[in-house]
Subunit: 453 residues, 2 copies
């Protein structure tokens, strides 16, 4: 690995090098800090970072004899999650300098596994729709997506191998796709939300970013105390091609081509691929997600609305105002409709190992004022199922475009195994991203890299 | 009302007096402060209280022209809920002096409705099983129950008309019963948990204490923006008598007699009462609740466990250790089993307006080291249904004993209407409690007050 700068190693590779004594936690941390110093003025991924403290923590880890599975791995924390040693400012002036007593649960769990909590990453205001200046590392004139903007950009730009995000609509999957990395939203409820500022309580899901599917598995396994993935290799996966009811109105040509091509490749590689249309009625997911989002945001932000209304962005003001106007009965009706659709989805997908679906409208839009459309991610968030963004193609401007791998509820490990199968057997994953994040594999998918897929 | 000290008024009566200009917010606040000064050394209900700030807030409210539905009503806040102007210490030395930037959502909503946030009330350690010294106002040698110890004791002792609690096992219904007041645990998810320290995320439910059912309705309606209760009066309620599978092992004679007598009275008053046995399999609720509780507590307390383990009580240490040992698959299996039982319960109770069930084992135990057994409350917490403690009898030592009124999920208002019907038509509610909290009604239920019901 001597020719790969430590900050460009995958998490799995870095952990292996550290365990073998060929890399110190400090050297890895310094490589990440160097990258950040070189690029942060352009990318603007961090809201809080203390380099001296990072080095001190890395040295402390180098002196420890007991070693967790994340030993020395730098981890970025979306700035809606509390950290005991760094401020949590939530992308809002209302929380400038806000310091919690405790770590959020997932931060403490990461530290317990040996992870090096590196810094806080920029979030859109309260994990919502108002961006806070982060740029897409692939094209600084474009949004990295949101609301987990800083986490996605930092991982994509080789500043960090791992980071936490949260998704309420599409705040993990969309920035992962726009930045060409892996974004994983687990089954709702997988990671404790203690210490998370809620956006919308019945939707908010903590998830992970990395540059490789194996890194996601390592990260999740370490946090959940699982044995390492994959427990079982998929042989002949049964895949549903789910274009969704938004295909005609939302999916741009690069997304359509990426999804169709992924299905073709999977079939060619031996998968049983069949079209899976969401049953009639599932289009209710979009409006239900929006109503629930507005109502619950208006409640989560009760204090900010009462005391600091002038400091809330126009986007979020619209959402809160819509939520406050919604009758309780309407909100409950949408909540219960979502429960029905979750149960229905479980029955309807019983014969599949997972689905392939569009992840985003298309490549990252130009400009920094708009973090992109959450529609194609949001329906799955409301279904509470695990999903993963797998970078699969490039759009007309050379920007990455992911497909979305969707699992059944609680079948996160099968979904991760399917993502690995799609990459290794069907050859789906952007080689440009692969090349930089890991140098062990040869990927035969050159044709998917060409403009317009 | 001239002969009733303001602190002994029900919330509804106090609100009416304030609206009519016959009572100022300051006079009400001073009456509560006087009561607290006289009794707090014995009862120990508060963990934080600033009398000067209370008076200042009351005067400010008296000067306001716009008036919410809780205008000037003193409200106690269980000390696991953040308040911007008072510390949140969670019954744990780990959080000594801990100060949040923001109010929790329900505190902000209370203030927005004109409520006077009065002080923080004592909680068992992290809303768990380790009491923190609060005494039962009816007998200082007995526990007030827990974990919402201070909220229940303060309301029962006429220090405050209203208070918030939280329930993860039985932390609202049990102290309400032990203290002879109304405790209301709404349908899971009713009140936003923003700013609540989680005990167990899929169980934690924020609820309310008051001395009267109407006060609960006023409080809930104000927070949810509902019109005032009751929208419809129940005529001939269909009531299930649900002794539960714990009747033989948990319900002591005073509880059995209170429940049976309540059913007899309801029938005599015109209700359609029939026995409703929880279907076979529902006994899984108890073990599922315990597993979920332990696992989720171990996650909520990840930081405390890692950084301050020596400061965690033996009770909580056992729960966290059990949670950490539980395989993820076991936890998920119990979570999904609970979902099945919730759906099953909905179908099985479709023909009822509500149930009458035992609320507690019996009267409050002697001593302050043990806050009582949550078993008879906990199964309903896991079912996510609304429940209410209605003081109905006295035990062999003259301590109050409640029955539990149980509603179907989302049918909170019907459950409150049923509680009103049980009180007004069937004459079920302790007159001793009635007499002190409200002087407008005449209650014909003297026989239920005698020792041993």
């Amino acid at each position: 690995m001597a020719d790969v700068p430590p900050n460009k190693l995958s998490a799995v590779a870095a952990a292996r090098e550290i365990a073998a004594g060929r890399l110190t936690c400090e050297a890895l941390a310094r490589a990440c800090l160097d990258r950040i110093e070189a690029r942060e003025a352009d990318v603007a991924a961090f809201s809080a970072l203390d380099a001296d403290s990072v080095i001190a923590k890395a040295r402390h880890l180098d002196r420890q004899s007991s070693r967790g599975r994340l030993h020395g791995l730098p981890i970025g924390i979306k700035d809606v999650l509390d950290t005991a040693d760094l401020p949590t400012q939530m992308g809002s002036s209302i929380y400038r300098g806000n310091q919690s007593r405790a770590d959020s649960a997932i931060v403490a769990m990461s530290r317990a596994a040996g992870g090096l909590i590196f810094g806080k990453t920029v979030t859109c205001e309260f994990a919502g729709m108002a961006p806070r200046g982060t740029r897409n590392p692939h094209d600084l004139a474009r949004t990295p997506g949101g609301s987990s903007s800083g986490s996605a950009a930092a991982v994509a730009d080789f500043m960090l191998p791992l980071a936490f995000g949260t998704q309420t609509g599409g705040s993990i999957l969309r920035p992962a796709s726009f930045c060409g990395i892996i974004g994983y939203k687990p089954t709702y409820g997988t990671f404790s939300r203690q210490g998370l500022k809620f956006a919308a309580e019945s939707l908010d899901t903590i998830g992970l970013f990395a540059r490789d599917v194996e890194d996601i598995a390592l990260f999740a396994d370490a946090l959940l105390g699982h044995s390492s993935l994959p427990a079982t290799k998929l042989a002949k996966p049964r895949i549903g091609l789910c274009r969704t009811y938004l295909w005609d109105t939302k999916a741009e040509s690069e997304t359509r081509m990426a999804v169709e091509e992924a299905a073709r490749r999977a079939e060619a590689a031996g998968a049983l691929v069949s079209v899976f249309d969401l049953p009639p009625g599932f289009e209710d997911l979009s409006i239900a997600r929006e109503v629930i989002n507005d109502v619950e945001r208006s409640r989560s932000l009760a204090w900010e609305w009462m005391e600091h209304r002038a400091d809330i962005s126009p986007q979020l003001t619209r959402s809160v105002a819509a939520g406050l106007k919604t009758p309780e009965e309407t909100y409950i009706r949408h909540l219960r409709r979502a429960e029905e659709l979750r149960a229905h989805f479980g029955h309807a997908t019983a014969s599949f190992d997972g689905l392939i679906a569009p992840a985003v409208n298309g490549e990252a839009p130009r400009g920094l004022d708009y973090a992109g459309d959450p529609a194609l991610q949001a329906l799955w968030t409301l279904l509470h199922v695990p999903t993963l963004a797998l970078p699969a193609a490039r759009g007309p401007n050379g920007m990455p475009v992911a497909i979305q791998v969707v699992g059944r509820r609680d079948e996160d490990r099968k979904m991760l195994a399917l993502a690995l199968w799609l990459r290794d057997e069907a050859g789906i994953q952007l080689p440009a991203v692969m090349k930089l994040s890991s140098n062990q594999r040869t990927a035969p998918q050159a044709s998917m890299e060409r403009g317009g897929v």
